[in-house]
């Protein structure tokens, strides 16, 4: 096994070459090589969801994904969600609905929610709970998180709160 390999990554729309040992996880490369610390390590075994990032638009556990597997696949981290126009609607909904307490699970939670909304703009509550079912939050009891995501559903009746 070589000591280091050159990885051609596309992170938040930017093409980046990283020289890294081939055993590094995507999470390690994001946090330690690219200083994108929004993705967190909560358990290191794919159980908590704090390290969730999007690869090809789908939520993945970056702690269980080798960085070499991500080469050539567009990666979105929490740092890549807001644009010059402002925050992503999911971020804004989380803020407005009080869905953020300690904030450690928030980046992964928001990315799982974004992936859901991208593939299903009208999720039922059960869909929402399932989509974030692998993102553990210890603070909120998930109620305000579900409310925040529900508020974005395009079939939501006006005035429904």
């Amino acid at each position: 096994m070589p000591d280091a390999v050159v990885l051609d990554l596309v992170v938040n729309g930017e093409s980046i070459q990283v020289l890294a040992p081939p055993h590094l996880t995507l999470l390690e490369v994001l946090r330690e090589k690219l200083e994108l610390t929004g993705a967190k390590e909560g358990c290191g075994e794919g159980a908590c969801g704090s390290c969730t990032v999007l690869m090809d638009g789908r939520p993945i556990r970056s702690c269980l994904t080798l960085a070499v597997e991500a080469a050539g696949h567009p990666i979105t981290t929490i740092e890549g969600l807001a644009t010059e126009e402002g925050l992503h609607p999911v971020q804004e909904a989380f803020i407005q609905h009080g869905a953020i307490q300690c904030g450690f699970c928030t980046p992964g939670m928001i990315l799982s929610a974004k992936a859901l909304m991208d593939r299903n703009p009208q999720p039922a509550e059960a869909d929402i709970r399932e989509a974030i079912g692998a993102n553990i939050c210890r603070c909120t009891g998930y109620a305000k998180i579900v409310e925040a995501i529900s508020s974005l559903s395009s079939n939501r009746e006006d005035g429904h709160e």
Binding site: C102, G103, T106, R138, C139
Partner: protein
């Protein structure tokens, strides 16, 4: 307080939290996210044995490994022992003589990268003499038990004895007496963020420390003690904190090891715990065995209760005296008890160290409510009526002499009972469905001596910008927002324009931390007083300019003007500048020390005012049990709490909902630790089952406001009593559903199936149908 509450502009409103934008964008920095030039990676070598004497530690090979910059053992420390109380100092940060649990700290290294640090740990050779160990309360208390600490015979660590009234007489005279034993193994915090600490030395001998904490000042003092440095040299800095729940209150050996490695190498050092290390070596909830003997009169009034609690405390004292007392105290606040006895014993075992947790004493509290249900059934009484008969009222005094000021417990019960349809449902639900009710009360601060009060300052920039300086820390519950909303209200500036300088021991003054649920009460009051002090000064300057009476001025929308005449006013920035030019710059100061009895001591004198205010709560839970699998589906939860006044209802609701998850859903259905030979069998996030989004029932939060006369804007503690009352409600609901009282918590499917299969149902399905057992006096 005779204020018109409808006039508040920011207080009492569900404003989004000031810290949420940084957290939503990934910009919030947690301790593990920090990095500094030339930073080293620290790792800790831990004991593989539950109990062993350290004969020799050889670090020669580890030190020789290229890339290793420092290796430390107990020989490099002052051997200082840490304890929350002078009489509980029993924990070294690195063990010098023996190890007392699997995970005890033995050595630490700092190296250029993680791989090198881990390799170095493998090169440290430790010779142990393995000693016999104790793993359960019974083993620890046995006559010939090996001693975890040689100076504590029979491993008795802390004992608390309380005896008020005439318990024996009252029990003899009671109409019905029951004795039941309730048990629960250890539970755990599983805060989202695994422990991490970063320490950076400077050329002048100071050390900066970033770590999760429930009070930076409560960290800095013990850290200074064990490092033998003046407090001014130890600077605990503000950092985002990924949850605490009681598990971030004390100094962690990691704080000390990281600081010492940094001082030795002259370089920044970071230690990041694995999830398993966080579970094993930070703190856990106590295992507990509780026996309640309760006497009741014919009408359902509790005449007397005698309770014994044994707590498995693990290897060191931690917050032992508090941990032993609090389960009793919460219940003596909740229910009137004229005749009450409590005997609490915390024992040492060769297991990880136990501290306070959000649902501390689940066996105790669930036991109280479950036993009330049993006795109500025996007497043919309604469980709601029995609770109402015994529930605390305002103006009363607890058994250990705390005056209860504001108290909305009855209102909480009534609202929860109505909203949940309890009276219509109890005894009338379809088979395998049940409903339960739990009541609880928690403190808003403890007697914490010189660290009990909080101090705050307000300063202004020349453009009118406001900065609040306060030692209050935010672990995730929203304390930053609490401070901002209070300062904004008093000074009449938008909350998002209030800058915070908080939780940094170099800058901020004394504060008790969020430990003991006191942040809003002490810290919030201090900020309010500081802001009022600043406003008074601003009004004096403005009054001169406006030729008005300072008493007629108001501050609102960044202006100071004469009440009722907004045109007769000045911009806040203008007043600040006038004050500067007139040589009387504005600087607000405030401090608040809760009025508690400082003569009260947990062990030697458990009597006197414990806390200036108490919160009260009631929760109802409705469940459906699958008799084949023992799975519990929670259909509905209604949780009410008297939090005094909700400074931000959205934040308060979030506390309630999180409390239901941790206390009820996790604490009563799935969460516990399993053990083998001192090894924790489920330390990881995969094995220890915390609630997921798919598990949670609908929750109806009900905020009850009694406007405490001494809390800031009437606020008290918010949310924690719900964690407890939810656990009690879940326990009673499952019993109601399956017709049997399971007294060993949590109520996992195996126990439920076993109870259904092997024992005749005994818990009545409705009140009035219970048998009168022979312990009832005929």
């Amino acid at each position: 307080m005779s204020e018109d509450r409808t006039q508040y502009k920011y207080i009492g409103r569900s404003l989004p939290r000031v810290d949420s934008r940084a957290k939503a964008t990934g910009q919030a920095r947690f301790s593990a996210d920090l990095s500094f030039p030339r930073m080293l990676v620290g790792k800790v070598l831990r004991s593989p044995y539950p109990h062993a004497r350290i004969l020799n530690i050889d670090v020669t090979r580890a030190k020789a490994l290229p890339g290793v910059k420092a290796v430390i053992t107990g020989q490099d420390t002052h051997g200082e022992k840490w304890g929350v109380f002078p009489y509980t100092r029993d924990m070294q940060m690195l063990q010098t003589e023996k190890v007392r649990y699997v995970g005890d700290e033995v050595a630490a290294v700092a190296a250029v990268d993680e791989d090198t640090a881990l390799e170095a740990l493998g090169l440290i050779r430790v010779d142990y003499d393995i000693l016999p160990a104790v793993f359960t309360i019974d083993e620890a208390l046995a006559d010939d038990a090996p001693l975890v600490h040689e100076d504590h015979p029979r491993n008795r660590n802390v004992e608390v004895n309380i005896d008020v009234g005439e318990v024996d007489v009252a029990l003899l005279g009671a109409y019905l007496v029951r004795t039941d034993t309730f048990t629960a193994p250890e539970d755990d915090y599983f805060m989202a963020e695994p422990y991490a600490v970063c320490a950076r030395p400077d050329a002048d001998g100071n050390i900066e420390v970033w770590c999760p904490n429930a009070g930076p000042h409560m960290k800095a003092k013990p850290l200074a003690n064990v490092l033998k440095l003046p407090m001014s040299r130890v600077r605990v800095r503000k950092i985002a904190i990924g949850g605490a729940f009681g598990g971030r209150s004390e100094i962690s050996p990691a704080d000390f090891l990281c600081s010492l490695l940094a001082l030795k190498t002259g370089r920044p050092v970071k230690i990041v715990y694995t999830r398993e290390e966080n579970t094993i070596t930070v703190r856990q909830g106590h295992g507990m065995v509780v026996t309640h003997t309760t006497g009741m009169d014919r009408e359902g009034r509790v005449a007397a209760r005698s309770s014994t609690a044994h707590l498995d405390g693990g290897a060191y004292s931690s917050t032992g005296p508090i941990a032993v007392s609090v389960p009793f105290l919460c219940m003596e606040q909740t229910y009137r008890l004229e005749n009450v006895r409590f005997h609490g014993v915390r024992v040492y075992t060769n297991k990880p160290v136990r501290g306070m947790i959000r649902i501390h004493g689940r066996a105790y509290a669930c036991g109280v409510d479950m036993q009330l249900d049993m006795m109500a059934a025996d007497l043919g009484l309604d469980p709601v009526d029995v609770r109402l008969k015994n529930a605390r009222r305002p103006g009363e005094t607890t058994a250990t002499k705390s005056l209860v000021g504001s108290c909305g417990l009855v209102e909480c019960i009534e609202k929860v009972v109505e909203k949940s349809g309890f009276r219509e449902k109890y005894g009338r639900l379809p088979k395998w469905r049940g409903i339960g009710l739990g009541l609880n009360s928690v403190q808003t601060g403890f007697p914490l001596g010189i660290r009990g009060g909080s101090q705050a300052m307000i300063k202004f920039n020349e453009d009118g910008g406001v900065s609040v300086i306060s030692g209050v820390v935010d672990n995730g519950q929203g304390n930053d927002q609490m401070i901002v909303q209070i300062a904004a209200e008093v000074l009449g500036v938008p909350p998002n324009e209030v800058d915070l300088i908080t939780a940094d021991t170099e800058v901020t003054a004394n504060d008790p931390g969020s430990y003991s649920m006191v942040s809003t009460f002490a810290g919030g009051n201090a900020v309010r007083l500081a802001a009022e002090d600043a406003r008074r000064q601003l009004f004096e300057v403005a009054a001169d300019q406006l030729e008005a009476n300072p008493a007629d001025l108001v501050a609102r929308d960044r202006k100071i003007f004469v009440k009722g005449s907004p045109q007769r006013g000045l911009a806040l920035a203008k007043v600040v500048r006038l004050a500067l030019i007139q040589g009387r710059p504005v600087m607000g100061q405030g401090s608040y020390s809760p009025r508690v009895d400082h003569g009260r001591e947990w062990v030697s004198n458990p009597e006197g005012q414990l806390s200036e205010a108490f919160s009260f709560g009631a929760t109802a839970a409705e469940v459906e049990v699958d008799p084949e699998t023992g799975q519990v589906k929670v259909l509905n939860v209604v949780a009410a709490q008297d939090c005094g006044y909700a400074l931000n209802p959205m934040v308060v609701e979030g506390q309630f909902e999180g409390s239901v998850a941790m206390g009820g859903q996790g604490g009563m259905l799935t969460e516990f630790h399993a053990w083998a030979g001192g090894h924790c069998l489920n330390p990881t996030q995969l094995d220890y089952q915390v609630p997921l989004a798919v598990d949670m029932p609908p929750i109806t939060p009900i905020i009850v406001e009694t406007i405490d006369p001494n809390g800031p804007y009437g606020a008290k503690e918010a949310g924690m009593s719900v964690a407890m009352s939810a656990a009690q409600a879940y326990a009673c609901a499952v019993a109601n559903a399956i017709g049997h009282y399971i007294k060993d918590f949590p109520l996992t499917p195996d126990k439920i199936v076993e109870a259904i299969r092997t024992r005749a149902p005994r818990a009545p399905r409705e009140f009035g149908s219970g048998n009168l057992f022979d312990h009832v006096k005929k």
